[in-house]
Symmetry: C2
Subunit: 376 residues, 2 copies
Amino acid sequence: MDTAERRAWAYLSRVCEPPNPRLAALVHAEGPVAAAQRIRARDVDGELARATEARHEIDSADADLDVLDRLGGRLLTPGDDEWPHLALASFARPALAERPYGHPPLVLWAVGPSHLADVTARAAALVGTRAASAYGEHVTSEFAAGLVERDVAVISGGAYGIDGAAHRTALACDGETVAVLAAGIDVPYPSGHSALLHRIGRSGLVLTEYPPGMRPSRRQFLARNRLVAALSGATVVLEAGVRSGAANTAAWARALGRQVCAVPGPVTSASSAGCHIMIANHTAWLVTRAAEVVEAVGRIGELAPEPDRPTTSLDDLDDTELTVYEALPRRGARTVGEIAVRAGLPVSEVLGPLAMLDLRGLVSQEDGNWKLVAER
Amino acid sequence: MDTAERRAWAYLSRVCEPPNPRLAALVHAEGPVAAAQRIRARDVDGELARATEARHEIDSADADLDVLDRLGGRLLTPGDDEWPHLALASFARPALAERPYGHPPLVLWAVGPSHLADVTARAAALVGTRAASAYGEHVTSEFAAGLVERDVAVISGGAYGIDGAAHRTALACDGETVAVLAAGIDVPYPSGHSALLHRIGRSGLVLTEYPPGMRPSRRQFLARNRLVAALSGATVVLEAGVRSGAANTAAWARALGRQVCAVPGPVTSASSAGCHIMIANHTAWLVTRAAEVVEAVGRIGELAPEPDRPTTSLDDLDDTELTVYEALPRRGARTVGEIAVRAGLPVSEVLGPLAMLDLRGLVSQEDGNWKLVAER
């Protein structure tokens, strides 16, 4: 990209609130340099004229690109080989055109070594409440670690709580992680996460469609959520209260045709209430392990293994049943009388437990002889 | 019921493994006394002859009825006004006839003051693993208390763990509770629950289709589960491992056209894994509160109230956001500068939190003036 083009993209990134489909169409038709010139010269009409009126004279492109250079970042545009064309193609869905922000970004300001198109080929969003519980942070870490282990990148919004736990664990496991910001690339938000965002920018990717210096706003959070959803093959809500921004990301994922998953939790926890609502409404799939998410983002035929069966069902036995169970021989069979003797119990107290063990598939009986059922 | 009839029912209750649809048809056609006489005289053919061959000479009716009398119990039959005709009518579903045990009981041995037909008009089954976690027992108690508070009877199987917590809480809340046993009415199983079953028999109802002295067996547990499901408008699985008898009760409830509900829990808990599988498979509805179950068993139009919204969403705010929130006036509006002064923060640190509060619907802005949004 030559300097004039780069300056034009930077100018266009600030000249109106992204995403603007009219601006995108103009750039597509005439290229960024001509588009920028026409806007600067007020040679556009109707809504695009109105959308660019307030800022058309502001040209901080050089300063913005200096900020980006100082951060070691790059300005990504649709001509770049790491532009996530495939992920963003979902914005072509007709239903999205009507939706506020239902368009792809014009450019992305990026800092970090990860290759965006490669990352989005195999990525999941882990999102949730900032007021995460210890349970929520633990489960988020389990999911992030499980995804990274299976070469799935972890995408999130860099916020406190679930987002932070997701990014931190991905970093700790040497996995790829992407933070999509609602502010400029040089505006760490929340400020308590500056160090975390810095680390993500050194080993993963920090992305935003807003030019340097932009502070977050409500609209920007909503627009950002759509990118988190779009760049991910599936969105997993780890914890969410009944009013949660994570529900907005989940709604975007659904609208974009991505799989939406939610993790259940204790019904006594307000931080899981939003997840339970989504599962109960059938707007999210219940997932309990990273492997189930990989099934959604993974290559065709990459199925989650069956859940780990408990290595033994003996946890579920009471003392008498365990005593009776242990009175059965490893090989061969015993009569009830023999079992009673070995268990040190009257025969009458052995029958009920044997029936219960039989019901649980742990023992079986033939011709009055009881034996252990081999572990499946 | 005269003595001969009562003796005949007691004899028929023991003469073959219940439920036996051929025996039921014979009794329906000829009455219990004639049916008993024909079986005793081997004047039956085919499968009914075979099913009653081993026990046709055993007549312990007097002794069995003595046991029942000593317990202060009664033998319920289809002629009784408390026979749960409506609940048992679901066994007429064609798909059930093919299913083992897919038939109503012939008689029910009962101890306790509750009126069975009345109870089943408004009842829910609370079932689950015997190896309940503290969470599972707590949530079971919440559900049992919530059901009882709404005049819904709590039906369960009298086992350790979830069943026990359900019965105990229902008793503690002076609610109606029914324990359906897989053994004779005089055989407390598990033995550690003798006192609990005794208390249920004094204020609620203990039921079984097996004659006195019968010990539980695998088949009897499976047959018992169908009665727990049939006598309840909905079955709620509170906790269940991946192999759990509760799944069998849930399957019966589905087959009988009853609503099946499951309560989610921590994904880190093996005791919730069975619930999560049922919810994920869409074979059970996710429920989090008793009120949602009442909707399933209750009168038409008796809808669960909306979930309690947190009285405040402030739980979800970080310290800075809370500071900014509290810097807004109770009435009227303030500019960002005024808010910054009052919060003791630079303006630049107020904007992000304000945007976040706006996103959460807690504050709103007009012409640069910010105000609190009234609680909905």
